[in-house]
Symmetry: C2
């Protein structure tokens, strides 16, 4: 299951993608439109900014805006920032790999092989879809 943080982040970005080319968008506008706690959303957008997906402007007339075209932002990349690993086991994660300490030999592990297959099928969807597909 995705955390609410991830879900909120994706919904907020979709909202922003729909209104791109307009002036910066207020946190509070997004929070209200998407039924997200405003303070919680603050933290989420900040994280997305710190990871290069959003820009911001302070003061009156300020807000957040996308710094890339929606077509260029894959959903997989966003989930990795907001949620962490997409894979079902640490030992099959491409971006957050970790050895399972109970498993002596990964190449012999049948669970590993199965989860690689699941991962590849999931990524096929999440890497091919972009923010533009969510608009």
């Amino acid at each position: 299951m995705l955390s609410k943080k991830t879900k909120y982040g994706l919904k907020a970005l979709t909202y922003m993608a729909r209104k791109k080319d307009e002036a910066p968008i207020l946190i509070s506008e997004i929070a209200e439109a998407e039924n997200i706690s405003r303070k919680f959303l603050e933290l989420i957008l900040l994280q997305l900014k710190n990871n290069g997906f959003l820009g911001s402007k302070k003061g009156k007339g300020g807000g957040y805006y996308l710094v890339q075209e929606p077509e260029m932002i894959s959903i997989a990349a966003l989930i990795r920032i907001l949620e962490g690993p997409i894979a079902l086991l640490p030992c099959v994660s491409l971006n957050f790999y970790e050895k399972c300490d109970d498993c002596p030999d990964e190449t012999q592990c049948s669970l590993n092989r199965l989860m690689v297959e699941v991962r590849d099928n999931t990524l096929k969807v999440l890497e091919s879809k972009t923010l533009a597909d969510l608009i």
Copy 2:
């Protein structure tokens, strides 16, 4: 990510499937072979028994045994028992459906549509594979 409980459960069942037709298998044998905390594994096997996947026999010469052929036990079914929902959002879960309280209309939600696609791709793998494929 799958919990350790789920991972341990799947590994334990795979171990048992490899030794099926032998006498009942001891918790402690599985725990040692698969590097799982013995007490933790007790709880996991008990749950699998209570859900009809395992039988048990008490006393000397006792232990746990599979009550179905490995070919008949889909990995998806096991994950649903051990982990819960396979879907990434409650609103797209087939077996654990829940409405998102922030979402006014599911049919209009683009995140919902995307996550249905992810779910279907995941299930395509997990429902077609059985314990026999993990041996």
